[in-house]
Amino acid sequence: MALSLLRTLIPFDIYGGMKLTGKYFGKVLRQANRGVKRTHVVVEYPEVPTTLMPRFRGRLQLIKDEQGEIKCVCCLACEKICPTQVITIEKGKKEGRKTPFPLRYDFEMERCIFCEFCVESCGFDSIILNHQFELAGYNREDFSHAMEGEFQNMFDITPVGHYSVASED
């Protein structure tokens, strides 16, 4: 009874919370602009690039081998397994190449859910999900990737800034 009255009169609980807040406040203040390694968790993202885990699932990308040939052989496994049907492949032949060659490899990113089932199903390691995550765009054409095309091609990481505000000027 007396203890509970004491607790009501003297705000121990508020003191505890203030102490915790003060502890972190002081920690940040000590580290700010002192050149020491920061222990707080805020990442200054657009200025400082983020680190991604090796398995990060970004945008779909076609892989070329050492000779610069597309590794895809059009077995359509990725097209079949894709839950949202974002991949369209057209099979074709190319001179001097034994395996089939994709005439067309369309990837509709606006519906892609980045589940990596396509990469899992591919037996030739001809596609990966790369580490690109800045994928916002201004119109729907920005999300439609094909083998040809200036920005949205399937082979390279899209130039940084194309999707972001920096491409305004």
Binding site: R7, T8, P11, F12, D13, I14, G16, G17, K19, L20, T21, V41, L52, M53, P54, R55, F56, R57, I81, P83, I113, F114, C115, E116, F117, E120, L129
Partner: protein
């Protein structure tokens, strides 16, 4: 002398404290709630219909998107349900890794609940601390499967890949400091006089009503019933784990808060046991390339962070997709109890009640 009249107001669907698109129709007498009718369906996407038209393999991606703060739990329910339907035996190592990730997911879900629930009630600071740890667990998910929220973590028959190098170190680093973090939340809330005033005796639900209404998970355990599917019907590697079921007798919002904090501690214990006892061996069962079901009907339930998450499957002979798939969503069933909890109470308590039920509208509406 004065004319009194009942007033009908709508809480939501675009109200920040309804955690999504929940609309609650409230009949008020002054500030007292006379009648409360939750209106749902704003996020209905027909997940069950879609999954019936997708293969067993593809369907998993839709489970990520029902309860999107606990997608690993949903993946586990789907994978284990399909495995039960087909009669697949999963390697022990895969079970351990699944258990570990599911428990980490329980922590993220409870942390998100803690942050937003406290924010609803008026305690802003906890939100920042809770999200600090949640961020770390999401990085662990990213290291394991490449995505932070829509994980698609498991495969039918096991895992796609073993844990990556450096994963154990990352989890152990998190484990080493997480118990101190829970203590910090307790410093901020448990003895806080405002928190106690807003939660003790609010949104009461006793065990009898909870069971009758089908309420499961922390809400049921906070009413004194120790029903936990991990103990009652062990799945994955929970049969080999040593942990306690957190219960509280009171059945109010404060009791649910204590139960969820204790569950985070128990999840921490289970993750440690999984790391210590991680068996060697393969992570994927040997399966035919094309899975074709026989006529079978199963109901597989797991203990998701929100309660009993059940998957009901019917397979047809030679079928590559489920003939019928149904999700017993814990949020959907738990939300039924909202009327029972708030009728006759004050309007401000409705916010606390919605928060304490921990509903995710993606799962309620499916």
């Amino acid at each position: 002398m004065f004319k009194t009249e009942e007033m009908e107001i709508n809480l939501g669907p675009q109200h920040p404290s309804t955690h999504g698109v929940l609309r609650v129709k409230l009949h008020l007498d002054g500030e007292t709630v006379v009648r409360c009718v939750p209106m749902i369906g704003y996020l209905h996407r027909g997940v069950e219909k879609i999954c019936e038209n997708k293969t067993f393999f593809q369907g998993q991606v839709w489970t990520d998107r029902t309860d999107y703060v606990a997608s690993v739990s949903n993946n586990l329910g789907w994978a284990e349900g399909v495995e039960k339907l087909f009669g697949i035996t999963v390697p022990r190592r895969a079970h351990y890794i699944r258990t570990m990730l599911t428990e980490l997911n329980r922590i993220t879900s409870h942390l998100l609940w803690l942050g937003t629930h406290a924010l609803d009630i008026g305690a802003m600071t906890v939100f920042l601390y809770a999200f600090r740890e949640r961020e770390e667990i999401l990085s662990i998910f990213e290291a394991f499967c490449g995505a932070r929220l829509t994980t698609t973590a498991f495969r039918i028959g096991g895992l796609r890949e073993d844990i990556p190098p450096g994963f154990e170190k990352q989890v152990r680093a998190f484990q080493a400091r997480f118990l101190d973090c829970i203590d910090e939340y307790e410093i901020l809330l448990t003895e806080n006089r405002i928190w106690k005033k807003r939660t003790i005796g609010v949104a009461m639900l006793n065990a009898e009503d909870a069971i009758a209404l089908g309420v499961t998970g922390p809400v049921l355990r906070a009413a004194g019933s120790a029903y936990d599917i991990r103990k009652a019907f062990p799945y994955a590697a929970y049969g080999e784990m040593d942990f306690d079921v957190a219960t509280q007798p009171a059945g109010d919002t404060y009791a649910r808060y204590l139960v969820r904090l204790e569950e985070m501690r128990q999840a921490h214990r289970i993750v440690n046991q999984c790391l210590d006892g991680l068996p060697e061996g393969p992570v994927m069962a040997k399966l035919p390339k094309v899975l074709k079901s026989e006529v079978n009907e199963i109901y597989h339930a797991i203990e998701a962070p929100k309660g009993e998450l059940g998957y009901y499957f019917i397979g047809e002979k030679g079928g590559v997709n489920p003939y019928r798939m149904h999700i017993r969503a814990p949020s959907f069933i738990n939300l039924q109890a909202l009327s029972k909890m708030v009728e006759g109470r004050l309007l401000a308590d409705v916010i606390a009640a919605i928060g304490t039920l921990d509903v995710v509208l993606g799962e309620v509406d499916r």
